[in-house]
């Protein structure tokens, strides 16, 4: 079943008339982890915001299940690169922001938000402000917020790029766990990354974009159970394939 479908999505910024993307199509199926890689500035973040319903595409459309996305939707959630925690709210209040569309009582929201923080190893930090936390902990709060409303699709814009490698590794496995665990609502992840190794490690499918105006250059399907052995020949081959697809662009 297709969770997210992009049909010939094109985009240009009205104010600068800069053509960012040209007719991008791909699907993210149920259970799939999709990574998007591409040269810097090619429009990955913009694309993710279009999928989230934050900005409308100039042409083409994005479907969730079989409905066109026209505005943000509680079934699709977003993890920001800079965490985007509101510094003036405590951690538990930040997670509660993720429950804004839920009709449950305020106490129930408090309870659920605390449980989520607990699940991400942050019990005891409920009433601290985000600035008291390390980067990794902040992003955990960001992830807790984004899964609070039980979304089916998780969109992530370079979620680990500002974290150290150890923290990133543990958060990656949290995401994979959520995707693979049937009891957790998340059943599709679309992640933008510039880290090719990360893409091969996590993705079922890697979308390689060209420089702007960007189009889909190559879609590489990656097989194999996670966690994957980074030292295997297969792993290196996938990485080479992605690098090659990216590099062709640079040479042109």
């Amino acid at each position: 079943m297709n969770m997210i479908t992009l049909e010939k999505v094109s985009f240009l910024f009205e104010n600068t008339k800069l053509e960012i993307m040209d007719s991008i199509s791909f699907v993210a199926r149920k259970g799939e982890f999709v990574c998007i890689v591409g040269p810097s500035g090619c429009g990955k973040s913009t694309l993710l915001r279009i999928i989230a319903g934050l900005i409308p595409p100039s042409s083409g459309r994005v479907l969730f299940a079989n409905h066109e996305i026209t505005e943000p939707n509680r079934k699709i959630s977003f993890v920001f690169q800079d965490f985007a925690l509101l510094p003036w709210l405590t951690n538990v209040e930040n997670v509660k922001i993720g429950l804004s569309r839920s009709d449950i009582s305020d106490e129930a929201k408090d309870k659920k938000a605390s449980e989520l923080l607990d699940r991400f190893g942050l019990s005891g930090f409920e009433d601290y402000y985000p600035n008291a936390l390390s980067g990794g902990m902040k992003q955990r709060v960001g992830i807790a917020r984004s899964v609070a409303s039980d979304p089916q699709v998780l969109l992530m814009d370079e979620p680990f790029s500002s974290l150290d490698e150890l923290t990133a590794t543990s958060l990656r496995s949290d995401i994979v766990y959520m995707l693979e665990n049937k009891n957790i609502s998340v059943n599709s992840v679309i992640m933008v990354t510039h880290n090719v190794e990360e893409a091969v490690e996590l993705a079922d499918k890697v979308i390689v974009l060209s420089d702007k105006p960007s189009h889909v250059k190559k879609i590489i399907n990656i097989s194999g159970e996670r966690p994957r052995d980074k030292r295997s020949g297969q792993f290196a081959a996938y990485m080479d394939e992605i690098y090659a697809a990216l590099a062709k662009d640079i040479e042109q």
Partner: protein, 534 residues
Amino acid sequence: MDFFALILQLILDASASWIRMFIALGISIVISIAVGIYAAVSPRAERVILPVVDILQTVPILAFFPFALYIFVVFLPGFIGINAAVIFLIVTSMVWNIIFGVYESIKTLPKEFLELSDLYQFDRMERLKSIYIPAALPRIVEQSILSWSIGLFYLVTSEIFSIGISQDQVRWGIGVAFATLVYQGASQYVTAIVVFICFVVATRFLFFRPLEKYSVRYMRQQARVPQPAQGYERTVIGWVSRNISRAPSVLTSNRILKGRKHVSHLPTPKTRHDLRMLYYAGLAAIMLLLIYVFATNRMLLELESVVFPAIIASFVRIWFAFAVMLAIAIPLSVYLIFMSRQSSKYMIVFQIAASIPATILLPAIAVTLKSGELVAFAVFLLSGIWYVIFSVMASTRTLPQSVFEVKKIFGVKGRSAWSNIYIKAIVPGLITGAVTGIAAEWNASIVAEYFTNASGNLVSSVGTGLGKVLDLSLVTCKSGASCWTAQYGLPALSGSQGLMLMGVALLNLVVMIILINTLVWKRMYRKVSKIYMG
């Protein structure tokens, strides 16, 4: 009067005022460069200069104008004295934030630049010319724009004020024109306002715009490229830290302690706490001493019995007007920032509105409203409100895109949006606005609470108030007049007693400002910066 003659006269008046302004700005910039650089390069100077500038900036210096006028006119008679007093006053309103601007830009200069100049053995002049001044220029210009609007307020207010004391009156000046023309008819008065606004707008676009462009010419590309919703400039933390660093002076001692990279000689949190305790103890000791001196001196006690109720009355008036300001400014700015999302369009409008001093309306307000209390309220409200709106807008102008995105993605609406996003996002701006707005109100008090027309006749007056006491004591100093009997039922005071009264009033004002800064704003700022910046 012939319309063209009127215009010509107004242009001459405004030009005279603008000459005072430009002289004051020039003096301010020179002082700022010297003091700012000195404070930034010498840790010892820094320790003295920062706290002093900090206090001076929050004292409503306009309240000292009667005193300054007295001193200047005594020593420099006639034309020179009065103009020197006005220029001096404008300088004291302009100089502080430019000093901080210079100080901060040098303080945050990458170490490499200084190492570079060591490497090539620049002498002091070369260093100044090729490193310090260019590095500080963008902030100097930015702060000068702000200073200019504050200065206009002082200019007009002091010109209007000088009229009450007829023999020291400023002859040429737009403030004088306002106060005289209001009696000649609405159309003349409105023409004067139009001419004034033209001058303000022309200065903004013909003088500051090019300067702004020039000062940031090497940053142009960076600044102009539309930033995608990421990168330091757009992150929440980046916003907060820039925003807080725009917080006003009162807050500086703290601001400097926060988030500065190479200021290793600064106290650690622990000693900072000790320092604060020491500061409180010192403050308490000075208070006790003052109370003792006042309690044991009958004369002082008698003066204090006039001044104390006066300062309380002004305080209530000013804070009441401030509460009304908040009730207007908060919904308005939230609407502009979050709902219409057009705040950047209105920014320049507010910038210009904020630089049009409310006191240009004072003569008209005083003539139409009649009641002294109403006049004071209207002038206070108009003096402060733009600062509040302006600093809220300025502080949220760079709010990271992701805050808006979080709101949309998670569908935050209604009450939750107000309490979780709108109100809290504007808090740093509100604090800045409150400090500057309330200072503007105190400044306006010398004309708002007691206003005399060009022939020296009283137009409007409140029952009692600090501004009124200061005005009256100047009149007393000048002529030993017995206005005290009429207004306060006191025996006529001699000139020196009048001067003493002024001193007591100013002392009360300074003590109150320091107490409020310490007990209210610094605390609030500490709390906010802890939450917002970690």
